[in-house]
């Protein structure tokens, strides 16, 4: 094996790796070499930093949630507002990094998978910005429930390809994208949207997302003169959580909390809580980690009100941090998430994404039990605009339907 491979972590404990058909290996090796070459290249990092600041709107604010803190009556709660980044979620951090890399590698086309549509939107956006042709694969179910993002992607010039295989959600979109990639390796880069998949994706995506944690660290030190006691983030594939957590992993005394999709409850197929119940290790989608699966090894159906958390696997680094008891995972039900969605909106004037509402719900569970002098940072990975068709149906059903009917009947 090339010496260069030893320089990026291919495994996190027993997890991660590269479990792909042989024909994908050359593309992954090219990506690995490319990432290694550019990740610390001053020109590359300067360009990325400039884009982060002037295109993306970074640093995103670290906001002291005074009202939420007062209402919960426990620790001090800060919110890292990734929803204020361009396109409305943390996904843009990674998409920009990968698009820049794709350019350096001479690729003219990009492809991406998407669940909630935020990563597809981010990919379509950077593709427009860099003049790359873009195709986004999205499960048919997600196309339906996240249509505002589908519309936006098309507006940006991307082709949205509905995936009708399997569960018709994120996991099947990943498969479809990998397969398309196998057939179009020469000119196409796959912008994978979370810290998972075959090496080098988990490490590369984590690195691009670590800007969240680096900023949060600087900001909290400026504001409070000390590090936080608690970090909370939602975990779909795990990119916003590892991005927040990673720059703090070497620090003593910090507790890391991951909120998973508890969905309708603990029954099989009703949630996407990989660490709820009996976590089971498996190999799928190019990596080894925990997957929701049956005893034969078939991946299971998942459910979450938030498309971005509706995924059977979890990033390998998070799996390893789970095993070492570094991250404490907890399932948050749809009901809890919707309740947290309403509370944050009313208390702080911040409408969080449904994914992020899971993190808020976890904060709501934890904060009252924690001393007032402790500090918690909650990652608001995205804002809730994209979810309007879901939240309105859940929270304001009759009026919303009346509005939609009126639009259909009388809209021009």
């Amino acid at each position: 094996m090339s010496r260069i491979s030893d320089m990026l972590p291919r495994h996190f404990g027993p997890y991660g790796g590269r479990y792909v058909p042989e024909m994908l290996v050359p593309a992954l090796e090219e990506l690995e070499q490319g990432y290694l070459k550019y990740k610390d290249d001053p020109e590359f990092t300067a360009e990325l930093t400039d884009l982060y600041q002037n295109y993306c709107g970074r640093p995103t604010p670290l906001y002291f949630a005074e009202n939420l803190t007062r209402e919960l009556g426990g620790c001090k709660i800060y919110l890292k507002l990734e929803g204020l980044a361009h396109t409305g979620a943390h996904k843009i951090n990674n998409a920009l990094g990968q698009a820049l890399l794709a350019k350096r590698l001479g690729k003219t086309k990009v492809i991406a998978e998407t669940g909630a549509g935020q990563h597809g939107l981010a990919s379509a956006t950077v593709a427009a910005r860099f003049g790359l042709e873009c195709k986004v694969f999205m499960g048919e179910v997600d196309v339906r429930r996240q249509y505002p993002n589908v519309y936006a992607m098309k507006l940006l010039g991307a082709e949205v390809i509905p995936v009708t295989d399997g569960t018709k959600t994120l996991k099947d979109a990943v498969n479809a994208t990998l397969k398309y990639w196998i057939q179009n390796l020469k000119d196409t880069h796959y912008i994978l949207g979370s810290a998972l998949g075959p090496f080098p994706y988990p490490v590369m995506v984590r690195d691009f997302q670590s800007v969240i944690g680096r900023e949060a660290r600087t900001q909290i030190l400026e504001r409070e003169g000390r590090l936080p006691n608690h970090l909370v983030a939602c975990v779909g594939g795990g990119s916003n959580s590892i991005g927040l957590f990673h720059p703090f992993l070497q620090d003593a005394g910090i507790r890391f909390h991951g909120a998973e999709a508890g969905g309708r409850g603990p029954a099989v197929g009703d949630n996407a809580a990989r660490f709820g119940g009996k976590p089971k290790v498996g190999i799928a989608q190019g990596y080894k980690s925990y997957f929701l699966q049956d005893e034969s090894g078939q991946l299971q159906d998942t459910h979450s009100v938030s498309a971005g958390l509706d995924y059977a696997g979890v990033g390998p680094e998070l799996a390893w941090l789970h095993d070492q008891s570094v991250i404490e995972f907890a399932p948050i039900t749809d009901v809890q998430a919707l309740d947290a969605f309403k509370r944050l909106t009313r208390l702080e004037g911040i409408i969080p994404a449904l994914e992020s509402s899971h993190a808020v719900a976890r904060a709501i569970e934890l904060a009252p039990t924690l001393p007032k002098d402790e500090i918690m940072i909650v990652n608001i990975s995205g804002r809730g605009d994209k979810d309007i068709f879901i939240t309105a149906m859940e929270l304001d059903r009759e009026n919303w339907i009346a509005f939609l009917e009126n639009e259909v009947r009388h809209g021009k």
Binding site: P21, N175, Q293, S296
Partner: protein, 257 residues
């Protein structure tokens, strides 16, 4: 080690066919009929795919078949039983299990190999269990169970990776004729022919070539070049559209080449 794969390839006259069956699609009884039909047309190498929810290397046809089989409740146990019954009935046919890493991993790789071997299989094809992952280097253990570890490569596999794979493979080497997924494209181009010709020079292993083979002409093109032509998606498509009779005719036409 010698098993049915070696025997099938030892005294061959011309190119052999290797066919593919997704266990449980359309159902296990039809699988058995299909396998009998294949054997009656002289097919000596048959892959039984254990269905998986996320078959990464497969195209739309085989993917759909996997899902349909799973929807019917087919489990690895059914696949072992199918192989056990048919390998007893057809002692000359070399059966191979093809599936994805998570299936053997869920059972335990050693247990999986033991069960595969007990059910009369002669080989394993696990395209996403990469030999350079620690649990992917199962070739030696497979042989101890009497199973050839059949490695899948593509025209882009080169240099030290190819050498590493060749040093592990036995029984036969399975190569795609182009970089793609199963069922992709419709045929064999000159680049594919050149590629197999060059590969032949690098290894003494019998070479099975596949992906996209869908006519007796394709088989004819490979005759004298590769040792085995692999036919997967096309047979499923034929069976779906026209039934087993059409598969029979197709195999008969291939056998005449």
């Amino acid at each position: 080690m010698e098993n049915n794969i070696d025997r099938a390839l030892a005294n061959k006259a011309g190119i052999q066919l290797m066919t593919h069956v997704v266990a449980g699609y359309p159902d296990l009884d039809v699988n058995a009929d299909l396998i009998r039909l294949m054997a009656s047309r002289g097919v000596k190498l048959i892959e039984i795919q254990i269905p998986f929810t996320d078959p990464l290397a497969d195209g739309p046809t085989i993917m759909r078949a996997n899902q349909a089989a799973l929807d019917q409740g087919v489990t690895p146990r059914h696949c072992f039983e199918l192989c056990a019954a048919l390998s007893k009935e057809l002692p000359d046919v070399a059966f191979m299990f093809m599936t994805y890493a998570n299936i053997p991993f869920a059972l335990g790789l050693e247990t999986f190999m033991a069960k595969a071997s007990q059910s009369g299989a002669s080989g394993l094809i696990l395209p996403d269990l990469s030999w350079d992952e620690s649990d992917g280097d199962y070739a030696g253990a497979a042989r101890e169970h009497g199973l050839h570890p059949i490695m899948v490569i593509s025209p882009d596999t080169g240099g030290p990776r190819l050498d590493a794979i060749l040093s592990r493979a036995s029984g036969l080497l399975y190569t795609t004729l182009k970089v793609g997924i199963t069922g992709a494209g419709a045929g064999i181009d000159q680049a594919g022919v050149e590629y197999v010709r060059n590969l032949k020079k690098k290894t003494a292993l019998p070479i099975a070539a596949g992906f996209g083979i869908s006519s007796p002409d394709h088989v004819r093109m490979l005759d004298g070049l590769a040792d085995v032509a692999v036919i997967g998606s096309h047979i499923i498509n034929l069976m779906d559209a026209q039934g087993l009779g059409a598969v029979d005719e197709f195999l008969a036409a291939c056998a005449r080449t």
